[in-house]
Chain length 409, copies 4
């Protein structure tokens, strides 16, 4: 009896903490649009990105669908149309509104979406006011990590959405924020050597991780060298000025096709104005910061630059092994600046099992045609990062904050 009472008490303490965490993360999403208008929040300048409003609704839909509808018997759905409108890609749930047309929805309004968030938040907090099962807690934890992923996506997408406007709107200014406050000096580039070893790769079950980071397993790694920092804008500029975009020998065949079809001669956000290089950033159009790590490049650009530099990209296993080693102290910019393209395809680990249920579509079904990026970036919520984290994008994509870490045999 007393045990039972204690257990309840202990549980309620857990739930209290979870409510607190829930509120903090959920609030953070709304904070991101503080400087934006409802019009800004509706932009979708290409099919890959989504309106901020849609992100705010979809992350709410995630809790409504996988938590409230699934686990709360008396929950009343906010609006039955949202089932389709804010389903991203869960075929197990049903049809989805066409991805490329998310910017064509003025209704629900931003205000309505905020109301939707509040409605769902109240229901979640009410659910957490009583002791909850482990599976409920796991869905909340997954939902909050999902929300944090979307916080980064929101910033990436806002940058892209603003980039097509000739007025070059700024989301923030350069000085008073972590996001676009450029590095002023770059340390000399050097390579740290690692000998052949067996690395322990992947996440354990003890703390939260996505299914695609599991199970832990051993990988045999050959000797290699790993760059002490990321490639800078200055270094990439030298590649451009040395005819890098005109020389097919550096490029993968599909990459060469891409830059020739698009007549691309510089990274996505670089602009040459009156013979000076600028970069479009969340702080608007800024003079190219030469010492700043290069960002927003495709896998093809990263690979071509590595070839030009007589180096290569690291595998995701090399990356994780370095990050877990003592040497990682002399190696900078691992998680705080740009995601780093690896030369590893996004594939299941041996023994991979998708999480059970419909949320099993979260990661596994994307395991084709994409490459792994490791680390983290300035836009990533800090408590969202892990050294086992596997980010993934198609090789032709560049609107995320992707940079280059060189490696050598």
């Amino acid at each position: 009896m007393s045990n039972h009472g204690k257990e309840n008490t202990k549980n309620t303490a857990d739930e209290h903490q979870l409510v607190h965490h829930y509120q903090r993360v959920r609030h953070q999403s709304v904070t991101l649009i503080n400087s934006l208008s409802a019009e800004d929040c509706q932009l979708q300048a290409m099919a890959d990105v989504s309106p901020s409003k849609w992100h705010l609704a979809h992350t709410t839909w995630f809790f409504e669908t996988f938590l409230l509808i699934a686990h709360s018997s008396h929950y009343t759905v906010f609006n039955p149309n949202f089932k389709t409108l804010f389903n991203s890609y869960y075929n197990g749930i049903g049809e989805q509104f066409k991805r490329a047309c998310r910017g064509s929805l003025s209704r629900p309004s931003l205000d309505d979406v905020i109301t939707y968030r509040e409605y769902v938040d109240r229901a979640v907090i009410e659910l957490l006011s009583a002791p909850c099962s482990e599976s409920i807690k796991q869905v909340i934890e997954l939902g909050l990590n999902h929300e944090q992923q979307h916080q980064e996506l929101m910033l990436m997408d806002i940058q892209y959405n603003f980039s097509v406007n000739p007025l070059f709107p700024a989301y923030c200014d350069t000085n008073n924020n972590r996001i676009e406050n450029p590095v002023t000096q770059a340390s000399p580039l050097s390579f740290v050597a690692f000998s052949k070893h067996t690395a322990h790769i992947g996440a354990t079950e003890q703390t939260f991780s996505y299914d695609n980071e599991r199970p832990t397993h051993q990988v045999l790694i050959q000797p290699f060298k790993f760059a002490n920092r990321l490639t800078t804008n200055a270094e990439y500029l030298a590649f451009i000025q040395d005819g890098g975009y005109q020389n097919p020998e550096h490029w993968l065949s599909d990459g060469w096709a891409q830059i020739n079809n698009a007549r691309q001669t510089a990274p996505l956000y670089w602009h040459k104005v009156n013979n000076e290089w600028f970069e479009f950033t969340l702080a608007g159009l800024q003079p190219l910061a030469l010492n700043e790590p290069l960002s927003h490049v495709t896998f093809y650009e990263a690979n071509a630059f590595a070839h030009y530099s007589q180096a290569r990209l690291p595998t995701e296993f090399e990356w994780e092994s370095v990050a877990n080693s003592n040497a990682a102290q002399t190696i900078t910019q691992l998680t705080d600046n740009c995601w780093q393209w690896t030369n590893s395809a996004y594939l299941p680990y041996p023994g991979f099992k998708p999480i059970a249920g419909v949320a099993g579509e979260y990661n596994g079904k994307f395991m084709a045609n994409q490459m792994v990026l490791r680390g983290g970036c300035k836009l990533t919520p800090q408590n969202h990062l892990r050294l086992t984290y596997r980010n993934f994008y198609y090789p032709h994509q560049a609107w995320m904050r992707s940079g280059i870490r060189l490696a050598k045999d």
Copy 2:
């Protein structure tokens, strides 16, 4: 001297009237978005349509560019970026922001556009406070007719933009407005016979008309018959139910390709829900009004229905000749319901001269691949209509309020 004084007085009276007319027309545009949010005003659900915000800015740009910059020596441009952003297709003015991306502009905001309108309006009214040249008055008249065209476009575009939203938003309600208040009865269909005659076609120089309506000229017309009213939804539904969309013999080759590629089996805005037909209207999704004139059909659909009906579409010359005749009294729905597809290609009249200057791109350069529609529709400002008016669209387009008037040899 006294004459000179009188002339001034007279002129100022003209200018006063013009100011009044200007204010009324300009105000009307803003009235159209009364029931819309800033988010609604940013929608662009396909490349053919534009956001309401863009219409409001572009019509203002028209006065700024062709009137103020051209004729007012001390005018200061509101924002130099607008030269590109709100230029629709005037190559003579310079580059244009990519048409299909107009919905990707959250800045300037709707509020900024309203401010832009007020800024330009003040400058125009100031210009009109002194006696003005004839050419200035002509630009204003052109600009106001241009604005009225865009008032209709705004409504057409809003309907399309709302149509892709599964929430089926309503712009207005069914009862208290002229736009979506359906006809409750259709008169019996009959054909009025016209004998061979020479018709006087086109607009004179006495009142305002577009260059494409001029010069007046004679056209020899063979005997024909002309339907007393427009085709109804009920009649078109019979065509569908009789397998009309599956029978190639009714269709022009390009039309047959279109409906098969798009797997189209009904007009653009028709929806079959639980075996009942509905139509998406500016008042939202409504039960199909059987007696209402059919609207929003392509030229191909109009032509196929005419073939099915053992009839044909009239030429634009037959249409204009009928409208100018006494018989027009027994012939209904000429200008007040739907634009009527004719079987005339949009081509220059003999002796056609585009208006001088850059505004010469207004009409002439579109004289290929499009068909003429005649009449007017519920969305057209009433004082904008003329029996010589030549509206034109590509045969595959249907988002304007286009209907069917049958004719026979």
Copy 3:
């Protein structure tokens, strides 16, 4: 009785003539591939063109389908698969093999197609060995005109198919043939004036014509001027050198889009090699013949050149009226060099009736989006021409021998 005998005799005489004509026309088609290999006859370098082999089979299919199957009770089909394979666009007959894939058929071989031709020819000639009905004779006449159209198409298509090969194969040589023997001198350009009049347009029922040339009717024509000859390569070169392809004011909107999308700066077959202009012809790559009429231009190019020349293109009615007039004697190159773009859309004449039956798809269903060309060209069989002939192509097409005849108000 004797009358009956006489009639039979007379009829048989008719049939004899028809056999003779049939054999001559059918033989001519095969003659066209004398200089070609089976590989050449299989080429289809774009969807608009067809392999020579396909033309030879399709024209045979036409007789098999509309004559033998329809009118000969004991005829045995050569190969039932050909019903689909060699049906061009007759939905009334059934499905068609995909047009763009005609070059992907190595079977039947060219030899098999020749055998097919001989098989059908024997059956046709046998049918004509007995007295025939009028409707049979009409089908044969239609089939032979159809075959002659395809003779011109074969040459046009061969030129295009060879044009994409960097070896620039020649179909014929420059000297010993009518086709590519260039004009060495051009008469001075002048314009012949015509006053306002009513023209009799269209073909009578007395001799063969296509349904789209009928019925005859009167058209009121305003005063105009008509160029005495076609535009030369030299004149068009001046347009190019004067920046014609860079100046939007000359171009229709759709044409400006086409040349910019395709980055086109000269006509389809013009090549600049070491700063000298060449033209790809049926005689291979040849130095541009400056006095030769310009050919292989789009409607957009023709229209732009006319605008640049402060002229316009004639209507098809002006063209026909001129050709029927005495003045036509001083006006050269009407039918013997290049088809001439008119500014008339391809639309039905008042009272137009497609020919009865499935062959009614021959012309009528193409009456949208195309423009009329008048005259004839070097590739057209001479006895196939009529002054009432209406040729038609899409405004963006240029692989037929299309040239420019200027007119003025």
Copy 4:
């Protein structure tokens, strides 16, 4: 001196053997078109495939370019235009004729290509009549392996090219050949277990291999099970009949998109005729052979079937390790029937170095977006296979003879 003499003798013996091998392989290519016409050899029914004629010319160009021009000082090029026409993708050599248009070349003729082959063969044999350097021998060895790859490609491409013809031409018959003589019985499916081990992966330098198979290296392999035979048509048919193509849970996201966009409900070459399943083969359309290994499936189809079967695809390392093990004796159909999709992306081995010079574009530049297939197939020349061989295709491709080998954790 005597040494020198001996060395020469020894070398000449080597060269003699090489000549013999060269002649045998080169002759084999021409043998493949024995049953084809020149028309057949020109077919290119999609951009991924090439005409047989082009293969015959390109493999010859390979020897001309990398051997004769590079190593034979007095060699005269057969035709300078072939440098571009028959260059597949070697940017280091120069421009290439557009891949998708290879079927639009009737010139050079098949006869001309055969003459080209004989011309180059004579020059190669003459070169080998004197003692040759190691690097020359290596180029010949590479060229012959390249030729053998194209022998398989020719057969794959012929099958595809014939498959679009409704006549369903047969390249061979079912009985008297290895290619399309179907398996009549399938052994029961079972899985062989392998424990965790370190495998030696890749090719040594001792015998010929492609650069992408090197260097040898160790890979740590977790315990797994490996199917004793390939998936049969019967097993895949059960997947189809169980709604496999309608159930998104089995499919990778990109695969689900592909089958829905293409409305695909069965493998590439399967046809349902009158409710019976047939398969298009090199022997024409044949009743589906239920016991025959399934072939011509995409990676997506393979992956979906594995998921449906509660299994997975093996990695390329598992595959190679099995093939090198004793267990491979109980495991059938490793190299003699179908290439087997692995779940390994085509990426460089640790320490990968492309072969030196322009031929370095052979393999390395394709290391993105493709998946590895292992084994070999009925169409592969038998002496071309190695257990280290890495074949690679895009996941959406299916015109090669690709099948399914299941594995399990």
